[in-house]
Symmetry: C2
Subunit: 356 residues, 2 copies
């Protein structure tokens, strides 16, 4: 593909196309999302508007930090790829985004994460109970959107989204359970299965919902799900790499926070399993208590160096490429015409190539 | 009605009829519920089976303590009252019970309640994160049952159940917010509104879903909702009375625990608002820190005496009767034929007359 130069650097046409798809999805889905959230009772609405970035903690309007809207974009782009009309699937796209945000609200409570989209997490502002309740309400809102949607694909989409939520819960459970175990008691296969349930499942579901709204057959829908899952795993691998080596000013999270907190992200577990001296060094570092108050930076830098020298970074990037190639294979099953598949491919490549 | 004497004492025919309806509902809904829970991934299934009483904490089978199954019974009985076939609404009945249990799992985490159905609450056995996740999964499972149900009433039922969940969340938020405020900063109207959202809404929704599955019109469905809401408030008032003066061996909760924890239940708030010397005594008692380690019994007994002398118990019982009469009025709008309405009436009278 032809490279085009922008002020932000060199991006290819695919990146351009993805950015346009994402912006267009935001434009179409944001009003539906906002309308749904505005229908909540005041107490729940306030927390949701803060979490989504539409309001400050004190209830004054905020310039919403535009999230990437990857999941809604996947829904709408999958509809188009299967020959459907994306405008008919805006509710489904909003429903997927609501489910994503319900899981973020709950995961932040469980993981005690303190920052989300450059701001304090909802539980820090409103307390655990309100963050849990707002998450519960967003899950219900997602299902309400689909239940009230007269589109013939809506009931199957609702069932699929509900099944996906169950998988997301099992994935988060596995994540918490893995975090409680020692660094030498966790296998890479377990971590990959956890990442598929926790991240891949909803990206797959987003694509599958697009297929259902386009009236696709079950084979196409399942292949779309497979495409999203594989791309989702590639995305998670790159996200983990960025979580260690990314620019905190762009990620919105403190540098090396996951390493300092001894999180077992995929590059870390690959490094631990590498059988290298650097892997052993990392295991020794991870066996110590999580670094606190002052020492995090140096501690995280040492851990990052060990992960890199143990091959964790290279493995994650290579495995992300492998997952992307599996994703492309699934996509070809669902959408044989390369031109029709272009949008989904551009999105998958965009999220797995991003540098922030 | 003719009184009949049983070994348990004197019960009327209505009580008999209600007990039979509840037992029948359990018989029909339990297999559907169990099948739904068995479809969960292992990690979530284990927590759900413990919470529902099918398994002990170690995963061995338990003799399930048969819950009252009031909500499923309301669904099935409402279907019958409107001339429908209850067997067609078993999934809807199971969905309502799943939603009820999702809220119990989450409320117990937020309220730090330690006992549920005579056993340690799920968060005490599995931790907060797992109890939250299992609740999330049960909400999803409820919606999945309805989304996969080919019954023509299912989409409207799914939308109504989702809207109800949002109301339940707002009700639990209001409950938590009321508990944080001082005893003199809470009005009885606020507490009644909270109880309607937290308890009335789901009982109303159960009845409304029965109407939808019977193909009833929107006026009948709304009147059924109103019936369930009013009966639900009567139920909550009686439940609060039992929470103070009931037999711990039958309630499954420690005696006076809510009073010792300074909970603002409806009889308590009525007593606080009574303008009586006993109300002032209660306010003074409630202004002190919650009683702990040893002094709970005496402290709770003093508080219970003050609530009673301030008229909180009499008010709660009279207001429950008032709500029951409003419920009967709503029921007559939905089901004019007294014979058809008999089952719902028997259920409402049963839950508001129970002594344990």
């Amino acid at each position: 593909m032809t490279d085009t130069t922008t002020t932000a650097g060199t991006v290819d046409v695919t990146g351009h196309e993805a950015a346009e798809i994402l912006a267009s999805a935001r434009t179409h889905v944001d009003p539906e999302l906002r309308r749904a959230i505005d229908s909540l009772p005041g107490s729940m609405r306030r927390i949701a508007l803060y979490h989504f970035g539409w309001e400050h903690a004190d209830g004054t309007p905020a310039a919403r930090h535009p999230g990437k809207a990857v999941r809604p974009a996947l829904v709408l782009t999958a509809v188009r790829a299967l020959g459907g009309e994306p405008a008919t699937a805006v509710r489904a796209a909003a429903a997927v985004e609501l489910v994503h945000n319900f899981t973020l609200l709950h995961d932040d409570v469980m993981d005690r994460d303190i920052t989300r989209r450059h701001r304090p997490t909802a539980w820090r502002v409103f307390g655990d109970a309100d963050a849990i309740l707002a998450g519960d309400a967003l899950q219900a809102l997602a299902q309400r959107l689909l239940a009230e949607d007269p589109h013939p694909g809506a009931p199957a989409a609702a069932a699929r989204l509900a099944a996906c939520v169950v998988e997301l819960c099992a994935g988060q459970h596995a994540d918490c359970a893995l975090e409680r175990r020692g660094p030498d008691e966790v296998t890479l296969d377990e971590c990959l299965a956890m990442a598929e349930a926790k991240t891949g499942a909803l990206l797959g579901c987003a694509c599958a919902l697009g297929g259902l709204y386009a009236g696709a057959g079950s084979e196409e829908v399942d292949a779309l799900d497979g495409f999203g899952r594989e791309a989702g795993l590639a995305f998670q691998l790159i996200d983990d790499v960025i979580g260690i080596w990314g620019d905190p000013g762009r990620t919105g999270k403190p540098a090396g926070a996951d390493l300092a907190a001894r999180k077992k992200s995929l590059p870390v577990v690959a490094a631990l399993a590498s059988g290298t001296p650097a892997g052993a060094e990392l295991a020794e570092l991870y066996a110590r208590p999580a670094a606190r108050t002052g020492g995090e930076g140096e501690d995280a830098a040492r851990a990052a160096g060990a992960v890199e020298r143990a091959g964790g970074r290279d493995w994650a990037q290579a495995h992300a490429a492998d997952r992307m190639s599996r994703a492309v294979g699934q996509l070809a099953r669902a959408v044989p015409d390369p031109e029709s598949a272009g949008g989904l491919l551009a999105l998958a490549e965009f999220v797995t190539r991003r540098t922030h």
